[in-house]
Symmetry: C2
Subunit: 184 residues, 2 copies
Amino acid sequence: MGESRAPAGGATTGTTDDAGPTAEGLAASWPARLRGLAGWLVNKTAVHSHRLNAEAFTAVGSRRFHYALLASLDEFGSSSQADLGRRCGYDRSDVAAMVNELVQAGHVERAQDPADRRRNIIAITPAGRAWLARLDVVAADLQDAFLAPLDARERAELIRLLTRVLEHHTALHGFARDPNPSTH
Amino acid sequence: MGESRAPAGGATTGTTDDAGPTAEGLAASWPARLRGLAGWLVNKTAVHSHRLNAEAFTAVGSRRFHYALLASLDEFGSSSQADLGRRCGYDRSDVAAMVNELVQAGHVERAQDPADRRRNIIAITPAGRAWLARLDVVAADLQDAFLAPLDARERAELIRLLTRVLEHHTALHGFARDPNPSTH
DNA sequence: TGCTAGTGTTGGCGACACCAACGTTGGTGG
DNA sequence: CCACCAACGTTGGTGTCGCCAACACTAGCA
């Protein structure tokens, strides 16, 4: 468990004499307590990732969740909105609006399930598949820009560690308040 | 790239005999495209981190940014609100409201800088230092819970990789739209 | 037949990052 | 001296995001 306690603080001098904000010296401008907190690093990194994602996807007139939903439909096949939300980690409420967008764009089709009239069957259209291929390129470029300062081994290691942490908390807390996959 | 078609209700990875959503089988329920995207992993992980932070800090009647601001004041000494925001990555607008909260709680004091009447000098109070020590414990427990599935070496490696990525994008885009440190 | 549970939809809430404007103040160059 | 620009703090607003509450509808079961 964590043994490190409160680091040395109380530098009440207030004289910040550093002048060069070079890449290495940049981290020094952050409070040491925060620099060592993985949660803080993850949050701040996620902000940058979110900004990069937003820029790249809006540049092609799309959104982040478009890619997530289309990818899920392509890999797992047609799903209900609830399953879609469980797989991608979205709330059912939000999935409804997201699917509306995708339907209006012609990337998916919404049809009532004849076997279970509660459900909507969401299916990806050929146009949606073409769009997904386009977004695959966007995502690949995004990945490369996001992980730019890391080499191949480090990128794989970061993904591995993040996956471990994410799986752990997903198992504990659930993805979208419903840990059970369908298996209906 | 992938044209993997899958039937609707099928758990295609049926080879594993696991019946429950164990840690390893859980990731298989996410779209493969998303599983490999570092940005997606970071964002989802940040959501869990954010939830853990919120739970832990509200449990003691505090907030996440309380810790960040108090830590900055303790380590760098009294600062203006603008410097405070730059160090912790907050917008000046939000810092104003945050400082209001801390002032009302008695953890910091706000005084006009006699040398520069534009600035407010924010200083941590003894009560604020005591509160910071309390929050240090909360943060340490948080770190341990967040990184639970990782051993010491992996934790250090994850922090190192995240720091590299974060520094890179901070240098490129700036932390809070103002890459220049004081250098007044 | 009732009851429970899952589904889709609407609406709202709170946190967060970010931006725009305004009045105030410091510093600088004409 | 005065005009101009830059920085500061404050208010208010915007958009995203995750999440919850309620409702009507339907399926499955005792």
